[in-house]
C-alpha cells in the first residue's frame, strides 16, 4: 500500500473492457531442413542420445519394478518410481538451452528432468569444471565408484555422464553413494552443481519454492533463470496458485527500483501429460480446457503463456529460446503448457484403468524417439546404423550403472548400526554464518539516521526503574528488541530479505518492522500477497539457494495455510539433501489473543512435533533480541513465536537493561526467571507472567517458594536446568497457552517423569488452555491458564495448600471426564 500509488476513483470507476491477446497453441512448424541453420549434426544427434538415455533408464526401472530384473541383473526396488516413458522430448528440449546457472525444480516424476538437465550441463561445462564438481561432491565419494570404468579413460564427459546416471540411480535405490546418500530417493533426487534443484513428492510443492529461488536470483543478481516443472494436475493446488501470484506481483515492475526493477527470471512450466494419477485434467478434473489459458488470468502479459508441443524436442527448444529471452529482458515470468504423454502408468502399480489401449497405442505412434529419428533420417542427418549405435551405447551405459548401483559392496546403504546418529546428525546443520555472502549491504540510510532507532534511543531499556514499572510509552518494548536484532542483520548480511503481509509501509501488523521501510529498498523488504503457503514456500526456495530470509505469519492461526511448506519443506530439505542444502530461514509467527477462535491459538506444539524445525518462543525483550540474533546467525529453520500479549512489555528480568549491542541467547537453553525451592513452574511463552503472578500468591499466602523457569525454546531443549530444579523442589507444574491435549508440555512432563522419577514428590502437572475454541476476549480468562488455575492445580495434584479453597476443577475425575468427552 505505497502512498506513491494513487488509487483514483475516477479511473477505477471508468467503464471499458479487458482485452486478451491470443495464446499460441503448438505454433511451431519448422522442418529439420529449416533447423539445420540452428543445429549441427552433433546437436541433432545429442538430442536423440539424451532422449534414449532417459528412455533406457526408465525402461530399466520399469523392468526392475515389474520383473525384478534388467539385462540379467536381479534387483528388488521396493521404493517409488514414477516413470516418464513417452515424455522424453519435452524434458530434453527444455534442458537443451539451459546452463548450469539455470535452476530447475521438479516433481515426483523428474528422473527425466534430472538426466536431461545433467546431460546438458555436462555438455556445457569444461573438463576442469566437471572434474572439480565431481571431486568436491561428498569428497569424491560418488566419483570413486564410477571412475576408471570408462571406455575412453581420458574422456571426462563420459565419466561425468556415468557419474550423473549412477548418482541418480544410487539415490533412487537409497544408496549412500547416491546424490543425497539415499535420503531423498526417487521423488527427491537432485544435484545442485548441475542446476538441478529439489524435486518434490508433494504435488505442486515446487510451485512456490521455485519462486523463492527466482527471488534469490533476482535480489542477489545471480546469473540464470529458474524453472518449476510441475504436472498439469498440480494447477489445482493452492500453493501453485499462490506461487503464481507471488511470481507476478506488480511491484517488481512498478515499485522495485533500479536494476531490480522488472519481472522475475522465472518459468512456470507444466509438463502436461493429460492426467493427474488417473484424473483427466482436460474434460474431468480441471476447467481450463487448455492449461495455457490460466496465464491470461494472472497478469496483463498473460504470463507470455503458450502451449507447446512436447512431443517434438525442437518445438520445445524453440519456445525455450524465445521465453528465455523474455526473462533476460526482465519481462517475466512465463507460463508454459508443454503437452506430453506417458506410456507407462502413473507408477508401476498403475493398471491404467482410466484410459484405453487405443489411446496409449495412438500416442506410441507419435513416440518422439521414433518420429524425431525418422525426421532426422529423412533429412539425411544420419543413417539408421548411427542411431542403432547410439541406442547400443546407451544400453551399455545403463547396464553398467545399474550393475554398480545394485551392488551392496560398491553402493552400500547408510549403516545405522555402525553410525546410529547418521541421520540424526543431518537434521540440523547447526552452522554459524554471520553473512551468507560478503558484499555491501544495500540500505537507504545509516542506522543512526533511522527514525525508529532514534525513537528507541530515547526509551528506557529496562521495565523496572527505581522499583517502579516504566510507563509503556517510555519503555523499550519487546517489539523494539525484535526490530533491533533484525535491523542489525540487515546491515550485516547482504542476502537478508524480509517479507510477508503488511511488512512494508504498515511496518508489520504489530509494528515490529516500523522503521525498516525507511531503511531498506523494496527488494529487501516487501509486502507479499495473502499467500501464507507461498510466503513460507518461497522462503524455503530462497534459503536453500543460499540466501537468508525472515518471513512472517501475521497470526499463528494461519500456520495451517502454510502447512505443507512448514511441515514438509522447511523442515526436511536439510536432511533430505544429506546436508547439501542449508536452510537459513526464520519464520516469525505471531500468537494472537482477543480475536477469538481463529486468531488466538498457540500452535507451538504442532511445530515441535515436526522433525527438523527449531522452535523458539521468547517472552522477554532480552530473550527476544538474543534469540533472534541466534536465529539469524544460524543455518537452520527457526520458527520464532512471538505473543501479541507481549509486544509492548518491558524487560523485567535484566534490570541493567537490554544491551544495545549484539549478543546472543543460545537456542535450546531455558532460563530461570525466579529462584525458589519448593515448587518449579516451567512455562512457554506469555504464560510466564501469569506463572509469576501465581508464584507470588503461592509464596505470600501459602509460604511455597516457587522457582519459575522460562523454556524460551521448545526444540531443541536442554533439560539440565529443569531437572536440577526438580531435583531441588521435587515438584513441577508446566503451563502454556497451547490447548492441553497434545501440548508439547505433555511431552516435557513425560521426559521429566522419566529422567527425574526418583526425585519427584508428585507427578509433573500440565496446565494448558482448554480443549475448546478460543472464546471472545471477554471470556478468555476461562480459556487460557490463569494464576488461580495454577494454584488450584498445585493444590489438587501436587501439594494440598492449607486453607486453600479451589475455584477450578483440577481433580482426576474431571481430567478423566473431559478426556472421555474429548473436550
Amino acid at each position: 500500500m505505497p502512498k506513491s500509488q494513487y488509487i483514483c476513483p475516477n479511473e477505477i470507476r471508468k467503464s471499458g473492457w479487458i482485452k486478451f491477446t491470443d495464446i499460441p497453441v503448438n505454433q511451431y512448424s519448422k522442418t529439420i531442413e529449416e533447423e539445420k541453420a540452428n543445429f549441427s549434426t552433433e546437436d541433432f544427434l545429442r538430442i536423440y542420445r539424451d532422449m534414449t538415455v532417459i528412455r533406457e533408464f526408465e525402461t530399466m526401472l520399469n523392468l526392475i519394478k515389474t520383473t525384478n530384473e534388467y539385462n540379467g541383473i536381479q534387483y528388488n526396488h521396493p521404493g517409488p518410481a514414477h516413470l516418464s516413458i513417452g515424455q522424453e522430448a519435452s524434458v530434453v528440449g527444455q534442458a537443451y538451452i539451459l546452463d548450469k546457472d539455470d535452476y530447475i525444480f521438479g516433481s515426483h516424476r523428474s528422473h527425466g528432468e534430472i538426466l536431461a538437465k545433467g546431460l546438458s550441463a555436462i555438455e556445457k561445462l569444461d573438463d576442469k569444471e566437471l572434474l572439480e564438481i565431481m571431486e568436491k561432491f561428498f569428497d569424491g565419494a560418488i566419483l570413486r565408484v564410477v571412475e576408471g570404468k570408462q571406455k575412453n579413460k581420458n574422456d571426462v564427459k563420459e565419466l561425468a555422464i556415468d557419474f550423473l546416471v549412477y548418482g541418480t540411480l544410487a539415490e533412487i535405490f537409497a544408496r549412500e553413494t547416491g546424490f543425497h546418500k539415499g535420503l531423498g530417493g526417487s521423488m527427491h533426487a537432485f544435484f545442485t552443481p548441475f542446476g538441478i534443484y529439489p524435486n518434490n513428492a508433494i504435488v505442486g510443492g515446487s510451485g512456490d519454492i521455485s519462486v523463492g529461488a527466482a527471488l534469490y536470483k533476482k535480489i542477489n543478481k545471480k546469473k540464470g533463470i529458474v524453472i518449476a516443472n510441475i504436472g498439469d494436475a498440480s494447477m489445482g493446488c493452492g500453493p501453485v496458485w499462490e506461487g503464481l501470484c507471488m511470481a507476478t506481483m506488480d511491484q517488481y515492475k512498478q515499485l522495485w527500483e533500479g536494476e531490480y526493477q522488472g519481472g522475475l527470471p522465472y518459468i512456470l512450466n507444466f509438463f502436461n501429460n493429460q492426467y493427474g494419477m488417473g484424473g483427466q485434467t482436460r474434460g474431468e478434473t480441471m476447467g481450463y480446457d487448455m492449461l495455457a489459458r490460466v496465464g491470461a488470468g494472472v497478469n496483463p502479459e498473460q504470463m507470455h503463456a503458450e502451449r507447446i508441443d512436447g512431443y517434438n524436442p525442437l518445438a520445445v527448444i524453440d519456445a525455450m529460446k524465445r521465453k528465455k529471452k523474455i526473462l533476460e529482458e526482465k519481462r517475466g515470468p512465463v507460463l508454459l503448457d508443454t503437452i506430453t504423454y506417458r506410456f507407462t502408468g502413473h507408477s508401476p502399480s498403475d493398471a491404467s484403468s482410466y484410459r484405453t489401449k487405443e489411446e496409449i497405442e495412438a500416442w506410441m505412434e507419435h513416440d518422439s524417439l521414433l518420429t524425431y529419428r525418422r525426421e532426422l533420417t529423412k533429412a539425411g542427418i544420419a543413417k539408421d546404423d548411427k542411431f542403432e549405435e547410439i541406442l547400443e551405447a546407451t544400453k551399455e551405459l545403463i547396464a553398467k550403472v545399474c550393475k554398480l548401483a545394485v551392488d551392496d559392496n560398491v553402493s552400500p546403504r547408510m549403516n545405522l548400526v555402525k553410525n546410529p546418529n547418521q541421520i540424526a546428525d543431518l537434521m540440523f546443520s547447526n552452522g554459524r554464518i554471520e553473512k551468507m555472502e560478503d558484499r555491501e549491504c544495500e540500505v537507504l540510510m545509516s542506522k543512526e539516521e533511522n527514525p525508529r532507532v532514534q525513537q528507541i534511543s530515547k526509551k528506557i531499556r529496562t521495565g523496572i526503574q527505581d522499583g517502579k514499572p516504566v510507563p509503556k510509552n517510555k519503555v523499550y518494548q519487546f517489539r523494539d528488541a525484535v526490530f533491533e536484532a533484525l535491523l542489525d542483520k540487515f546491515y550485516t548480511d547482504p542476502t537478508l530479505i524480509a517479507y510477508g503481509e503488511e511488512n512494508r509501509d504498515w511496518g508489520g501488523a504489530f509494528a515490529v518492522y516500523r522503521g525498516l521501510t525507511e531503511a531498506l529498498p523494496y527488494h529487501r523488504l516487501f509486502n507479499s500477497p495473502i499467500s501464507e503457503g507461498a510466503i513460507v514456500g518461497s522462503a524455503v526456495g530462497y534459503g536453500l539457494c543460499g540466501g537468508r530470509v525472515v518471513v512472517e505469519l501475521m497470526y499463528c492461526d494461519f500456520l495451517g495455510r502454510a502447512g505443507d511448506e512448514i511441515f514438509n519443506q522447511l523442515s526436511k530439505w536439510q536432511a533430505m539433501s544429506a546436508g547439501v542444502l542449508k536452510m537459513p530461514v526464520v519464520l516469525r509467527v505471531s500468537v494472537g489473543s482477543k480475536y477469538g477462535a481463529q486468531h488466538s491459538q498457540d500452535w507451538t506444539s504442532l511445530c515441535a512435533h515436526i522433525p527438523g524445525l527449531k522452535v523458539v518462543f521468547p517472552a522477554t525483550p532480552y530473550d527476544a533480541k538474543g534469540l533472534m540474533n541466534s536465529a539469524l546467525i544460524g543455518t537452520d529453520p527457526v520458527i520464532f513465536f512471538e505473543s501479541q500479549r507481549l509486544y509492548d512489555i518491558g524487560e523485567m528480568f535484566h534490570l541493567e537493561g537490554v544491551p544495545e549491542g549484539y549478543y546472543e541467547v543460545p537456542i535450546g537453553e531455558p532460563d530461570i526467571k525466579k529462584q525458589g525451592k519448593d515448587l518449579t513452574i516451567l512455562t512457554v511463552g506469555a504464560t510466564l507472567y501469569r506463572a509469576l503472578d501465581a508464584a507470588k500468591i503461592l509464596e505470600e499466602k501459602y509460604g511455597v517458594s516457587v522457582e519459575v523457569i522460562d523454556a524460551r525454546t521448545i526444540v531443541p531443549f536442554n533439560y539440565d536446568k529443569v531437572i536440577q530444579s526438580v531435583k531441588k523442589t521435587g515438584k513441577i507444574l508446566l503451563s502454556s497457552d497451547a490447548c492441553e491435549r497434545g501440548s508439547h508440555l505433555k511431552d516435557m512432563a513425560q521426559t521429566i517423569s522419566e529422567v527425574a522419577f526418583d526425585y519427584l514428590d508428585a507427578p509433573p502437572v500440565v496446565v494448558g488452555a482448554k480443549n475448546w475454541i478460543t472464546p471472545a476476549y471477554e471470556l478468555e480468562e476461562y480459556f487460557f491458564p490463569q494464576p488461580d488455575w495454577i494454584i488450584d492445580a498445585v493444590h489438587e495434584k501436587i501439594m494440598p495448600l492449607k486453607g486453600h479453597a479451589a475455584k477450578n476443577n483440577f481433580t482426576v475425575n474431571e481430567q478423566l471426564r473431559i478426556n472421555r468427552l474429548g473436550v
Partner: protein
C-alpha cells in the same frame, strides 16, 4: 571354540544364585565332568560340573557374588581365545548389575503387613501411595515410611511427611525397631531402583552392613552371613514381628506309639517298615487330626483366610547350612509308610543341598522336632502365613496316679504355637487335645 558357562536356573522362583566356591581358578585346565563351582540359592546349594574340557579362560564372578540366573559365569576354551564377548559385565551396565533376588518364601509374606499400623489414607488395596522422592528420602534416613502421615493429594505420602516422621521419630513398635533401622536395601527395579516390592519384602537389616566400618578387631571373627542364614533371619524376624503368636504345651502318653513302632521294627524282614520313626507317626497323626481343625491348616492373610483342602505338611529339617522346611504335599492322603519314605528323601536332599526349591514352599502347617535333642518344651516360631506350628519334644518318664497307685509312663511333649490373629486359644487347645487322644490310641486311629 570357547564355551561360556551360565548360572543355571534352579526352580521357577529363583532369579539369581550366589557363587559359594570356585573349585577351579582362572587358567586351570578342566576336564568335562569336573567340579567347576558350587552355588547356592536362598534355599539350597548346588554343584556345577564342567560340560566341556579345556582351560578355564575367564571367570566373571567371584565367591560371594550374586549372579542372575542364565548369566555367563565363566568361559572354558583353548588358550588364547577371546572371552570378552561373553563377559556380562562388559557393555550394557544393566547386565552387570546383579539382580537382587526376591526370596519366594518371603515374597508370599509381603501381604501380611498389618494395616492398622499404617495411616489409612496412604493405602490403597495393599499398596502404599508414596512419591518416589519421599520413598528415597525414607530409605536414606532408614525410616519406615509406613508410619508417615500422608499429606499429599489422594493420600500420597510426600517428602514433607517423611521429614515430619523423622522429626517426630518413627513409631517404636517391635516391627519398626529392628526391622528397618540401619537397613540397606538393594533395589530390583531398573537401574537398581528400589520398588515398593523391595521395601515390603526386605525387612531385616543386613547384620554385616550394620557393622560400622572398622579395622578387623582381634576380639572377634567377622563372617559374612550366608544367603540361607540371611533368609532364615528375615523369615524368623518377620514371623515374630508380624504375627501374634503364643504357644500351648501339652503331653501325651507315648506307650501306644512306642509299642507300635517296636512292632514295626520287629517285623523288619517281613514288611520292610522298620524305618518308620516316632516322628513319622506323629506326622501321620497330625495330617489326619488337622482335617477336623481347619483354622490350623490355613494361611492368615490380613483380611482373609485360606483354608487348605489338604494338608501340606512342612517338616523342619536341621542341616549344616541351617534350618530348612520341605513340604509333604497332601499328607492326609498318604499312608504312614509313604509319609515316612517321603520325609526321608526330603531330609536327605536338604542335607545334601540338592533339594528342589519348589519343594521348600507351599506348606499349610509345620511340624518341628527337637525331641531328639532332649528338649522338653519350647516355643516354635510360626512360619507365616501359616497359622500354627507343632513342636515335638523328648519323652520323659512321668508319674501319674492310677487307682491309688503311682505309675510311670513315657510322656512325650507337644508345643503348639498358633497365631492368635487367626484363631483363639480354645480351638487351638481342642486340636491339641484331639491330637493327644489320637496318638495315645494310635493303633485304633490307623484302622479308621
Amino acid at each position: 571354540m570357547a564355551t561360556p558357562v551360565i548360572m543355571p536356573r534352579q526352580g521357577q522362583s529363583v532369579e539369581s544364585c550366589i557363587i559359594a566356591k570356585w573349585h577351579k581358578n582362572k587358567g586351570d585346565s578342566v576336564r568335562e565332568g569336573e567340579l567347576l563351582f558350587s552355588y547356592e540359592t536362598d534355599k539350597a546349594s548346588f554343584d556345577e560340573e564342567a560340560k566341556a574340557s579345556g582351560v578355564l579362560l575367564d571367570v566373571f564372578f567371584q565367591e560371594g557374588d550374586d549372579v542372575p540366573c542364565l548369566t555367563n559365569v565363566c568361559v572354558i576354551g583353548n588358550p588364547g581365545e577371546s572371552t570378552a564377548e561373553f563377559n556380562p559385565n562388559a557393555g550394557a551396565e544393566a547386565v552387570a548389575k546383579p539382580v537382587e533376588e526376591k526370596p519366594a518364601a518371603v515374597e508370599a509374606h509381603a501381604q501380611e503387613k498389618s494395616e492398622e499400623a499404617f495411616p489409612v489414607t496412604a493405602v490403597e488395596g495393599d499398596r502404599i501411595k508414596i512419591s518416589p522422592r519421599a520413598r528415597n528420602l525414607a530409605e536414606k534416613l532408614s525410616l519406615d515410611y509406613r508410619y508417615a502421615a500422608a499429606s499429599g493429594p489422594n493420600g500420597r505420602i510426600v517428602e514433607k511427611d517423611i521429614i515430619t516422621l523423622k522429626e517426630s521419630g518413627p513409631v517404636p513398635t517391635p516391627a519398626a525397631k529392628g526391622e528397618f533401622a540401619g537397613q540397606t536395601m538393594t533395589g530390583t527395579g531398573i537401574g537398581g531402583r528400589i520398588t515398593t516390592g523391595d521395601l515390603n519384602t526386605v525387612k531385616v537389616s543386613d547384620a554385616a552392613a550394620m557393622q560400622p566400618a572398622q579395622e578387623a578387631g582381634p576380639m572377634f571373627e567377622e563372617v559374612k552371613l550366608t544367603n540361607i542364614r540371611k533368609v532364615i533371619a528375615k523369615a524368623m524376624h518377620h514371623s515374630i514381628s508380624s504375627t501374634c503368636q503364643l504357644t500351648l504345651n501339652s503331653s501325651f502318653d507315648a506307650t501306644d506309639i512306642m509299642e507300635f513302632r517296636k512292632k514295626l521294627k520287629d517285623s523288619k524282614d517281613r514288611l520292610g517298615l522298620e524305618n518308620i520313626t516316632l516322628n513319622d507317626i506323629i506326622l501321620y497323626a497330625v495330617s489326619r487330626t488337622l482335617m477336623n481343625h481347619k483354622d490350623l491348616n490355613a494361611h492368615f492373610l490380613d483380611d482373609r483366610m485360606l483354608y487348605f483342602r489338604n494338608v501340606n505338611l512342612g517338616v523342619a529339617v536341621d542341616t549344616e547350612r541351617g534350618l530348612m522346611v520341605p513340604t509333604v504335599f497332601n499328607a492326609n492322603h498318604k499312608s504312614l509308610n509313604d509319609i515316612a519314605r517321603e520325609v526321608k528323601k526330603l531330609v536327605k536332599d536338604c542335607q545334601s543341598g540338592n533339594i528342589n526349591p519348589d519343594l521348600l514352599k507351599g506348606g499349610s502347617f509345620t511340624v518341628t522336632n527337637l525331641g531328639t535333642l532332649d528338649i522338653e518344651s519350647f516355643t516354635p516360631v510360626l512360619n507365616p502365613p501359616q497359622t500354627a506350628i507343632l513342636g515335638v519334644n523328648t519323652i520323659v518318664q512321668r508319674a501319674r496316679e492310677v487307682d491309688g497307685e503311682i505309675e510311670f509312663y513315657p510322656a512325650m511333649g507337644l508345643s503348639l504355637t498358633f497365631d492368635h490373629r487367626a484363631l483363639d486359644g480354645a480351638p487351638a487347645a481342642r486340636f491339641l487335645q484331639e491330637l493327644k487322644h489320637n496318638l495315645e490310641n494310635f493303633s485304633v486311629m490307623l484302622v479308621k
